[in-house]
């Protein structure tokens, strides 16, 4: 027994000795003087991202493929300001807890310069306190929640990219005001942060107009179908249907509206506007006349066949990510986000993380693959939303057709 006590004492002493030393290489800023941050040299930049390569949301993998293809293209031309971009990506299976581990691994072990385009609202919320505490940029996150731009002061190192859901709802309100000023709207929405963001944004945007929401029904992302919600909405006296759903439910809603013979103006949100994932499974004949929004060029549409940026995209994707589907809009999404990232990297005044954020926060550039008239614009704490304009599109025949002008959200 005595021996055990001695051993315990020895252990305690060893622990204390080490504890007294602490760890001397904390945060990696011990180098001093150099002025540059981890993950960046004169000829390289390391970026990190966490995506769902496995699990329920693995269809989003194509976003990473689009981004990698663009970085490869830039690297083949000598990189961003002479720096070759290495984009390290890890799989989180769409689980926030894994995203936290991935973020730690990317920042501490891979020593990335910045986190780029990590996907999913919950996943980004899970890591943003950490990224901000470590003062590592978490830029152009792949989610449309409005909080990325509304909380700049508290999370100066985090920023969104795509038009947020509030912007989108304002665009729908604007469209209705012009086309159907007395619209009676029935809303189907997903009961989570995404659905509420869009619904509340819409309700806010129609205040003071003659448009009113006459019915709303919610569903859980775990529900099998939205059949009963759709029958309830169809029995209301609405003449417009605002469909705030994710792809699986979007397809169900289109089919249900057709089955119920519910002929109203059907607005389906951008998340579910994919021809590949939603409209084709539901049947293109049922999708005629659908209204939605767009902010980048549709790779499936022939309208852009002669467009230089679309050609560059299709050639680049075929060369660097041959397994990706060039008609998948998610590839364009990744490509466009990566283009914006390269512009931000070129805009850095010095090779530091703070300088990157400075460039990201004060930007005014045109990204060719975005729709004409839509640019990426931010200004410090006042405007934390890079893209704030969208254009209405209408599904006709085989493809989406753009309608009217680009609508700038008032925000």
């Amino acid at each position: 027994m005595k021996r055990t006590v001695w051993l315990a004492l020895l252990l305690a002493m060893a622990a204390l000795t080490f504890a007294a030393c602490g760890r001397d290489d904390d945060d990696g800023d011990g180098g001093g003087g150099g002025g540059s941050d981890p993950g960046i040299t004169d000829d390289s930049i390391k970026l990190g991202g966490s995506y769902p390569f496995s699990g329920p949301a693995s269809a989003y993998r194509s976003i990473e493929q689009g981004a990698q293809a663009y970085f490869s293209l830039v690297n083949s031309k000598g990189g961003a300001d002479g720096r070759k971009i290495d984009f390290v990506t890890l799989d989180d299976g769409y689980e926030p807890a894994k995203a936290v581990q991935n973020a730690r691994r990317l920042i501490q072990e891979e020593q990335v310069f910045a986190l780029f385009n990590t996907l999913g609202t919950a996943n980004n919320v899970a890591i943003w306190d950490y990224a901000n505490k470590q003062e590592v940029p978490q830029v152009y996150v792949a989610t449309g929640a409005s909080l990325w731009g509304s909380d700049v002061a508290a999370h100066p190192w985090t920023t969104g990219w795509q038009p947020d859901y509030v912007t989108e709802s304002q665009v729908y309100a604007d469209y209705l005001e012009n086309e159907k000023p007395n619209a009676k709207v029935a809303v189907l929405y997903q009961n989570d942060a995404f659905g509420e963001d869009l619904l509340n944004g819409f309700k806010e945007a129609i205040k003071g107009t003659d448009i009113q929401v006459v019915a709303d029904e919610s569903y859980e992302v775990t529900d099998p179908t939205v059949g009963s919600q759709m029958s309830k909405l169809a029995s209301s006296d609405a003449d417009t249907f605002l469909d705030i759903t994710t792809p699986k439910f979007g397809a169900q809603a289109i089919v249900a509206a057709d089955k119920l013979g519910w002929k109203v103006v059907h607005i389906i949100n951008n998340v579910s506007a994919s021809k590949l994932l939603v409209l084709q499974p539901a049947g293109l004949d049922k999708a005629q006349g659908l209204i939605s929004t767009a902010y980048f060029k549709d790779p499936a549409s022939q309208d852009w066949d002669d467009d230089a940026s679309m050609k560059e995209f299709k050639d680049g994707l075929a060369k660097y990510e041959p397994r990706a589907n060039p008609e998948d809009p998610n590839c364009v999404f990744g490509w466009a986000a990566a283009s914006t990232m390269v512009e931000a990297l070129k805009g850095m005044k010095e090779p530091t993380r703070a300088a990157l954020m400075d460039a990201v926060r004060n930007m005014d550039v045109e990204i060719p693959i975005l729709l004409p008239g839509i640019d990426v614009k931010t200004s410090g704490e006042e405007d934390g939303y890079p893209i704030e304009a969208m254009q209405i599109q209408r599904f006709q025949g085989e493809n989406w057709k753009l309608q009217g002008d680009v609508i700038q959200a008032p925000h």
Binding site: F18, Q101, E109, V125, A126
Partner: protein, 335 residues
């Protein structure tokens, strides 16, 4: 007697390494080892139930989740000091395990496995239903413990040592319990219910209490998990985690205390390295390693020294017989 001395030396060596880990590795690795300790506590709880008591639970992820959310809500909504959340989560899960155990333990073997499986399937959805409290799919961000300045430690080192202290207490408690009279009656129930009841073991009471105790272990692990990650969301508690705990105790060694730790190392590190080999084949590699492991070491990693001795000395060790029984998990004729 030499065997005993050897084991004490081994335990001391492991303890020394465990204390040194936070000073030898970078923050990310230390974070991984913190998770290993947490998984080890949960796996140990499950091992008490499956390995020592012969009941199968496929739903310990649910108690892990309950503990995690209890810890998160107590810290965020009730401003409770984080150390107090560990016993609180443990106690709540003990009660929950007891209440769940009373009706469920009328079922045996595979039937119990199925009922607990139902619990694990329902849990993430239940969390989403109570979204006023749990924030639903959005998840809850929880303030993580900060190392007191007098320790001179970085936060990740402090968190690791905190988890180590908690894990040490839980391991000592389990070891102490299982080598005494309670442990004997727990094992007696596993090895044969009728003989156990004829020598005066109260079957229902023993089974329910072991179930509650093992739920409490999962709960404490869940509360630690929240401290380690600073975040909880329902997607973290799918079936995968319940199965991971089960894999941990089988890989580590059923009905062994050290097996829980070895199994936890396995479930933390193998998937990470598997996804490094090939993103698209993570599951295949993890599964393949699991199968290979069971083939080479059917008694789990804790059986390795014995296996080696057999190979070297070419004979069966005397402890073979007593240790073989638990490998079956469910005693014959129960399912």
């Amino acid at each position: 007697m030499t065997d005993r001395r050897l084991r004490i030396a081994l335990v001391c060596a492991v303890a020394l390494v465990a204390v040194l880990i936070p000073f030898l590795f970078g923050p990310y690795r230390v974070g991984q080892f913190t998770l290993v300790l947490i998984y080890a506590v949960a796996a140990l709880g499950l091992n008490l139930l499956v390995g020592y008591n012969g009941q199968i639970s496929l739903g310990h992820g649910a108690f892990f989740a309950l503990g995690a959310y209890t810890g998160a809500l107590l810290i965020e909504k009730a401003d409770m000091p984080y150390l107090a959340t560990l016993p609180a989560a443990g106690a709540l899960c003990f009660v929950a395990g007891y209440l769940f155990g009373v009706p469920a333990l009328r079922l045996r073997g595979l039937y119990l496995a199925l009922v607990t499986l139902g619990l694990a399937i329902a849990m993430p959805q239940l969390i989403k239903r109570f979204d006023d409290l749990t924030e639903g799919t959005q998840g809850l961000t929880v303030e993580q413990p900060v190392a007191p300045s007098w320790t001179g430690l970085a936060d990740d080192q402090f968190l690791y040592l905190l988890s180590l202290a908690a894990a040490a207490v839980m391991f000592l408690a389990a070891w102490n319990l299982m080598r005494g009279p309670i442990g004997r009656s727990v094992k007696a129930v596993r090895d044969g219910e009728i003989p156990a009841s004829t020598i005066g073991v109260d079957l229902a009471a023993t089974k329910t209490r072991v179930f509650a105790l093992s739920a409490a272990y999962a709960g404490v692990a869940g509360a630690l998990y929240v401290l380690a990650l600073g975040f909880v969301a329902p997607e973290a508690f799918t079936l995968t985690i319940s199965f991971a705990f089960l894999a941990a105790i089988v890989v580590g060694g059923l009905a062994t205390i050290s097996g829980a730790l070895l199994g936890a190392l396995f479930i933390e590190f193998v998937p990470v390295y598997a996804s490094d080999v090939n993103d698209a084949l993570t599951g295949v590699i993890y599964g393949g390693v699991l199968i290979a492991f069971m083939w080479v070491l059917p008694e789990g990693a804790a059986g390795l020294p014995r296996r080696l001795r057999e190979l070297v000395l070419g004979r069966r060790s005397p402890r073979e017989e007593t240790l073989k029984a638990p490998v079956r998990g469910v005693p014959a004729g129960k399912a």
